[in-house]
């Protein structure tokens, strides 16, 4: 099973990757809010933002097909919104798509240029409650372990039966599998907890060689601020 499908390109060393996570989080949030605030009758501003996004995409060194593939998650919503064409007209829905896609690409850029540990540290420093950040850390670390466990259980089930059981039977099997997975998760968590305690855990994870705020961040942040101010002034 491939384990790096989540942050495959986060370990590159592009100018976007070396930024401090906090400034990146702030800047990308500002850009997304900027895109969301573009008025409907100023379609040309979308091109300006699209150009900026393309520049960021170029800097980030993440392959274009990867970004495009990731953007497909939006498809169900596009189908749903297409049902609303009679109410809003093609122009309105078109604007909706462009806005959604732009925001999505910005989010993909943010999460794929930041290592996960860095992202967590950035979130924490921006005031996200510690319990949430710690949960996120555990989730990330054990996601692969539990997914692998689930896949093994699925393989075992598929090996043992031929064809398909009736609906009710199938559900019963699946809920027993889920229950087993749940119990194993619990037990793993308790083992982990004693292992952590015995290694001197006190509710805090140190980060090795964190990225520091440097002149790169200053340049990046002032560039983004300038861009947003300009788009507001030139609208």
């Amino acid at each position: 099973m491939r384990h790096n499908f989540i942050d495959r390109y986060a370990a590159l060393e592009s100018p976007l990757h070396i930024l401090e996570p906090r400034s990146k989080l702030l800047a990308f949030t500002a850009l997304i809010v900027g895109v969301l605030s573009i008025p409907v009758d100023r379609g040309s501003l979308f091109f300006v933002y699209f150009f900026a996004t393309a520049v960021l995409m170029g800097i980030s060194q993440i392959p274009l097909p990867y970004i495009m593939g990731r953007s497909l998650v939006i498809l169900p919503f596009i189908v749903l919104a297409s049902l609303a064409v009679p109410w809003k007209g093609f122009y309105g829905i078109g604007i909706l798509f462009v806005r959604a896609i732009l925001c999505l690409i910005l989010l993909i850029l943010l999460t794929n240029t930041t290592r996960f540990v860095e992202l967590m540290r950035g979130l924490r420093k921006l005031g996200c409650p510690q319990i949430l950040v710690m949960n996120l850390g555990f989730l990330y670390r054990y996601l692969f372990v539990l997914t692998e466990e689930a896949m093994r259980m699925k393989q075992a089930r598929d090996c043992r039966r031929v064809g398909r059981a009736p609906f009710g039977e199938e559900l019963k099997i699946l809920s027993s599998m889920l229950g087993t997975l749940l119990i194993r998760s619990f037990e793993r968590a308790e083992r982990m907890h004693s292992a952590m305690l015995s290694r001197g855990y006190s509710g805090h994870f140190p980060v090795l060689s964190p990225r520091r705020f440097s002149w790169h961040d200053l340049v990046f942040l002032s560039g983004i601020t300038l861009f947003i101010v300009l788009t507001v002034l030139l609208r």
């Binding site: 989540i6 997304i32 809010v33 969301l36 605030s37 573009i38 008025p39 409907v40 009758d41 998650v73 919503f77 749903l80 919104a81 049902l83 609303a84 109410w87 309105g92 909706l96 806005r99 959604a100 925001c103 999505l104 989010l107 993909i108 999460t111 992202l119 005031g127 409650p129 319990i131 949430l132 710690m134 949960n135 996120l136 850390g137 555990f138 990330y140 670390r141 996601l143 539990l146 997914t147 559900l171 809920s175 027993s176 599998m177 889920l178 229950g179 997975l181 749940l182 119990i183 998760s185 619990f186 793993r188 968590a189 982990m192 907890h193 855990y201 006190s202 509710g203 507001v232 609208r235």
Partner: protein, 302 residues
């Protein structure tokens, strides 16, 4: 059901960000999790469990398949406070890892998937008298709670989209709730099945719900979460045309934005105004966080 950025107006999205943020802070406080307690890894690993459980799907009809969503299950096992925190982490992770759901729309997604699902699911489960003893009652309560929690959260999603003027309420409600009424059957059966399995195999794990007692106010809040969307749903179903939401919007000065038609109000004259408003919200949140941190520093100081 994860709303991407761009489908909600800034006002709807940011106000839900504030609501969800407040809810997370409240739940974190009520859950009173000590950072060295064993609840921390349990909540985190159960978040990963939800991810992994979604890999275990099974075929329904044609090419479609169903899987567990899990909010109701977690809130029954962990209690609504810890359960909603865990689900909030899952939603955050889905936004960050898989780009399911946007960054500004994160509050709306946490509201729908974690807050509404966990609280309504837990309330319904308790109202039906589901307990750790097992038996038929547990199964029925689990099924109904799982089904309803999904329906309520998906109609909340449709409601938000309609408030933002992206998708009309009639279309949104019909598609979202209709689809989730079917998916909800699987969710309900799996919730009941897992609870039944757990009560047979490890009944001690069912009693972990000691974290954060569910008080009177929590009951009132949970009932509100259930009753409000249910009322809107009932009204939409009974009156059909005209859209009851339009009446609601016309009556409330807070929500005129979508009611008056997004064309007029999102004209360029409002652009600066929008940015300003978003900025004020961000400042408010920031100052709240800062104040809290300062207070904590003062308390923990010498």
């Amino acid at each position: 059901m994860h709303i991407p950025d761009g489908f909600l107006t800034n006002r709807v999205a940011v106000s839900l960000d504030v609501v969800s943020g407040a809810n997370i802070l409240y739940a974190a406080r009520r859950a009173r999790v000590d950072f060295s307690s064993r609840m921390v890894p349990i909540m985190g690993v159960l978040g990963a469990f939800v991810f992994a459980a979604q890999m275990l799907n099974f075929p329904i009809l044609g090419g479609t398949s169903g899987h567990l969503v899990g909010g109701c299950l977690l809130s029954v096992i962990l209690g609504p406070m810890a359960g909603s925190l865990t689900m909030a982490t899952v939603v955050l992770a889905q936004a960050l890892f898989l780009q399911d759901g946007g960054l500004v729309a994160l509050g709306a997604n946490i509201f729908n998937i974690s807050v509404v699902t966990c609280f309504s699911g837990y309330a319904i489960f308790k109202l039906l008298g589901g307990s750790a003893e097992g038996g038929r009652r547990l199964l029925i309560a689990g099924f109904v709670a799982g089904w309803f929690s999904l329906i309520i959260s998906s109609s909340c999603c449709a409601l938000e989209m309609a408030l933002a003027g992206a998708i009309p309420l009639r279309v949104g409600l019909a598609t979202m709730s209709g689809y989730h009424a079917l998916v909800g059957i699987v969710e309900g059966m799996l919730t009941a099945g897992v609870l039944g399995f757990l009560s047979k195999v490890r009944p001690d794990l069912m009693k972990i719900d000691g974290v954060g007692r569910f008080g009177v106010w929590d009951w009132i809040g949970a009932v509100l979460f259930v009753a409000l969307p249910a009322a809107v749903l009932a009204k939409a179903g009974s009156s059909g045309l005209p859209d009851p939401l339009e009446k609601l919007l016309a009556g409330s000065p807070l929500l005129v934005e979508a009611g008056a038609g997004s064309q007029k109000l999102s004209s360029s004259a409002r652009y600066g105004d929008y940015l300003l408003r978003a900025g004020v919200f961000v400042l408010l949140i920031g100052s709240g966080v800062l104040a809290k941190r300062l207070a904590r520093r003062k308390r923990s100081g010498p």
